[in-house]
Amino acid sequence: MPTAIVTGATGILGREIVAALSQDSQWTKIHALSRSQKDKYPPSVQHDKIDLTASAQDIATQLKNQGVEGEYLFFAAYLAKDDEGEASDVNGKGYNAPHLSTVYTERNPPYII
């Protein structure tokens, strides 16, 4: 049963990776890493507050304190020039469950083994 770490978990791409993983029951544990407050997550997802701009040692301390580990690392964090300000979840709303109904795949969803 695979486990995952996702960085940039509140970003435009990262949040969908977290959502897709959480919708796929084979993933037993998903660590969603971001600097900002968490969205409401389902039980398989654990938010970890991590500052990736810190030193390796500092990051390691943050990771250790929150028990962050996984077999698959989805690295979607970036510091874009126009990425000003912290992302913040103003009202703690959970994101809508993604419906892949309009994502056309033949027969099998593409990510099932």
């Binding site: 949040r15 690392l73 994502v103 795949t105």
Partner: protein, 308 residues
């Protein structure tokens, strides 16, 4: 960041558990921000480096990834999305949100939706990535053995033009496209020339096009940063936000420069999905449908006004 993070995982010992690392970079890998690129872009294209080229941190990241993987024994995948369509809660700075706000304000100001970008680009091609399809791709690539140590373009699978999308955008937001929009005066236009030696130049010899490749430019008939600062625009947003109970900060926090670049650059962006398709990737979504889905979500998050 990537390097420090991987090092941190080594320090904690978590690195021993890693099987695969999936890094997301993007089409700036091809230098789409520097000027005309050879289309379609394919993963085997040479990297855009050397004299006359700025450093590209995506290349640094990939090199770090490859060398760390070799040392540690896990493998990697890199994806290159482009012009991402999607929603980021609390981060209003993206293509979809900016487009929706531009349209909503124009609806409020009388309902004419002029294309603010480049007339040249209006009927040229762009390739978008829906954030949800990108996630599906990442989950597929995580388990596909043939993806080991490979980089992949990741776009929706169709190719679009603003000539096609703009009328649809106008219709959704209750606006009309002026039939002669490109004949209008452009009091707040801007032009920015891009790199003297565009990425396409690296193919010039092989393609038999030496001396024919001109630098690109970002041509905004309506410079969106200037537009966003106009009093009537800000007032219009304030009225909409008040009336519809929207996130007031959405407009002020939007980075109009990004949308201005996407609509204003004057060269094709065509990205090939052949490599992933040959390995069995079958995902696809119509880019307009993905925009509509993202607009729907922005409405439900009260970032943009309801259109239905």
């Amino acid at each position: 960041m990537l390097q420090n993070f991987l090092e941190a995982l080594t320090i904690t010992g978590a690195q021993k558990k890693l099987k695969r690392v999936l890094l997301t970079t993007g089409a700036k890998h091809y230098g789409v921000h520097l000027g005309p690129v050879k289309c379609p872009m394919v993963e085997s294209d040479p990297w855009i480096e050397g004299e006359g080229r700025p450093p590209n941190f995506y290349y640094t990241q990939q090199r770090i990834l490859a060398s760390a993987a070799e040392a540690a024994g896990w493998d990697w995948v890199v994806t290159y999305p482009n012009d991402v369509i999607g929603v980021a809660r609390g981060n209003f700075m993206n293509l979809t949100t900016s487009l929706a706000l531009y349209a909503a304000v124009n609806k409020e100001l009388g309902g004419e939706l002029e294309f603010p970008g480049s007339e040249t680009f209006y009927n040229r091609f762009d390739s978008f990535t829906y954030s949800r399809l990108h996630a599906a791709f990442q989950l597929w690539a995580a388990f596909e053995p043939k993806c080991s140590n490979e980089a992949f373009n990741m776009v929706n699978g169709d190719v679009e033009t603003w000539a096609n999308l703009w009328p649809k955008l106008a219709r959704r937001f209750g606006c009309k496209v002026p039939p002669r929009q490109f004949e209008r005066a452009t009091p707040i236009s801007s032009q920015m020339k891009l790199l003297d030696k565009p990425p396409f130049d690296d193919c010039a010899t092989a393609a038999g096009m030496v001396g024919k490749i001109k630098p690109g430019a970002v041509e905004q008939r309506i410079d969106l940063i200037k537009w966003s600062q106009k009093k009537e625009v800000k007032d219009a947003w304030a009225r909409i936000a008040e009336r519809e109970g929207l996130e007031k900060d959405a407009f002020a926090q939007a980075t109009w420069g990004f949308l201005g670049f996407v609509l204003g650059r004057n060269y094709d962006i065509v990205i090939s999905m052949s490599k992933a398709r040959k390995l069995g990737w079958k995902g696809y979504i119509d880019s307009w449908e993905s925009l509509e889905e993202a607009f729907d979500e922005l409405e439900s998050l009260k970032i943009v006004p309801k259109t239905k």
